[in-house]
């Protein structure tokens, strides 16, 4: 069982501030989506709206074809684990929170929850308030995975976890996804570490969808062009240039988009050096708010 996600002209405002504007998404169920964006780009607002925690100011959200807001049959099969608000109140002990989740969530797997508690070595008798930051995050992951919700979303669920725990998180998520395919949306800043498990990547910037691409395709979308300034400038005319770096007479331009064979031949003929650009670098330059020329040309 998986749930698809569809938004049409989604707009969410906080007072006068627009957090999301005219966001239209059509995400088939059963995939792992990575949600990337800078701080304040609207990632958390989007996830909260998809989970039905927040009412859209305008536009619609449909999960598995159904409206999500105040629709219990759908919200109970949707799970959002957020970084800021822990799961449950700080005074509750972990065992009670797990018991409650069992009653609230129709897809909950109690045995699996127990296994995960052991794997993340979490103390059942302690309260949420007694946990370290990393343990709180790990507990969120336990609840998120054991909910087995057809749509499960993690909003920076790894915060405070050390590297081995983050690895365990990815391993468990992937293992359970392989055994029980469902829809995952994972927002993160750890692009290099977490992006290999994504099938598709969504980049949002200032409340708008900037890029939606298969992860592996995105890895071919950035090209660096290096050579004498004049030749580089001539070559990149008409292409989407994300950034330029000058080092004496040499210029390195970062270009977004697939270069066809003709372009590659021309570059070789002129002695220009073409190189790949990593996903993280691409992300940094795509969402650089100081940029001007790339804007609008990407979509």
């Amino acid at each position: 069982m998986t749930l698809s996600i569809r938004t049409d002209g989604l707009r969410v405002c906080y007072g006068d501030t627009e957090a999301l504007g005219d966001l239209t998404l059509d995400l088939p169920g059963g995939k792992i989506y990575g949600l990337l964006g800078r701080n304040g780009a609207g990632k958390s607002t989007l996830l909260a709206t998809l989970a039905g925690f927040r009412k859209p100011t305008a536009g619609t959200v449909r999960i598995g074809g159904e409206p999500i807001f105040e629709n219990l049959p759908v919200t109970s099969r949707t799970c959002l684990i957020r970084d800021d608000s822990g799961v449950g109140d700080t005074g509750d002990n972990l065992r009670d929170i797990l018991d409650m989740a069992k009653h609230l969530r129709p897809d909950w797997d109690d045995k699996y929850a127990g296994e995960l508690m052991d794997r993340f070595t979490l103390p059942r008798k302690k309260t949420v308030g007694q946990l370290s930051r990393g343990q709180r995050s790990a507990f969120g992951v336990v609840v998120g995975l054991a909910s087995r919700a057809p749509l499960t979303m993690f909003d920076e669920a790894h915060l405070g976890m050390d590297a081995p725990t983050r690895q365990l998180f990815l391993d468990e998520l992937l293992r359970d996804y392989l055994a029980r395919p469902r829809t995952f949306v994972i927002s993160t800043h750890l692009i290099e570490e977490q992006s290999p498990i994504f099938e598709e990547v969504l980049i949002i910037d200032r409340g708008r969808l900037l890029v939606r691409e298969e992860l592996d395709e995105l890895r071919t979308r950035g090209v660096s062009v290096t050579g004498p300034a004049e030749l580089v400038e001539e070559f990149v005319t008409g292409l989407t240039v994300l950034s330029r770096q000058r080092l004496g007479p040499t210029v390195q331009a970062m270009v977004y988009g697939l270069l066809d064979e003709e372009h590659r031949r021309r570059a070789r003929a002129k002695g220009l050096e073409l190189g790949p650009v990593g996903v993280q670098d691409l992300f940094i330059h795509l969402t650089d708010n100081g940029r001007t020329e790339a804007e609008g040309a990407i979509r």
Binding site: I32, L178, I197, G278
Partner: protein
């Protein structure tokens, strides 16, 4: 494990080809399933599936329905032929270009190559 620069599926396919070429994976030997591969290398299963499909299309591996994927009987020979064809363009020509840029005479290179062959080394 994977670099951040080229598609992961291509890197996986290259690794499996290298294993076949070196005889780490033998003809008719079963290769890991897509899911095993995804879990082991911590990558999305769709990416692993794409790599395997690529190898099937190239004839390096083949599917046995309901059983899994296996190395083709002629995979090693075929890959070796491909690499041999590319050797001169990919390895030798850039080497000669570099030697010319550095002013190293052909005779010196020939002597050195002969020495390496005589030692039975592979130049590594």
């Amino acid at each position: 494990m994977f670099d951040d620069h080229s598609p992961i599926y291509r890197q996986i396919a290259e690794q499996i080809k290298a294993d076949v070429l070196r005889g780490v994976l033998n003809a008719e030997e079963q290769v890991m399933s897509t899911n095993q591969y995804a879990a082991h290398y911590r990558i999305n299963p769709a990416t692993a599936a794409k790599a395997f499909q690529h190898l099937v299309d190239e004839g390096v591996i083949y599917k046995r329905r309901g059983v899994g994927m296996f190395v083709s009987a002629d995979a090693q020979g075929r890959l070796r032929d491909q690499r041999r064809e590319r050797f001169f363009a990919d390895v030798l020509e850039p080497m000669v270009a570099e030697a010319q840029a550095l002013g190293i005479p052909a005779a010196e290179i020939q002597t050195r190559i002969q020495q390496l062959f005589d030692q039975g080394g592979n130049g590594r």
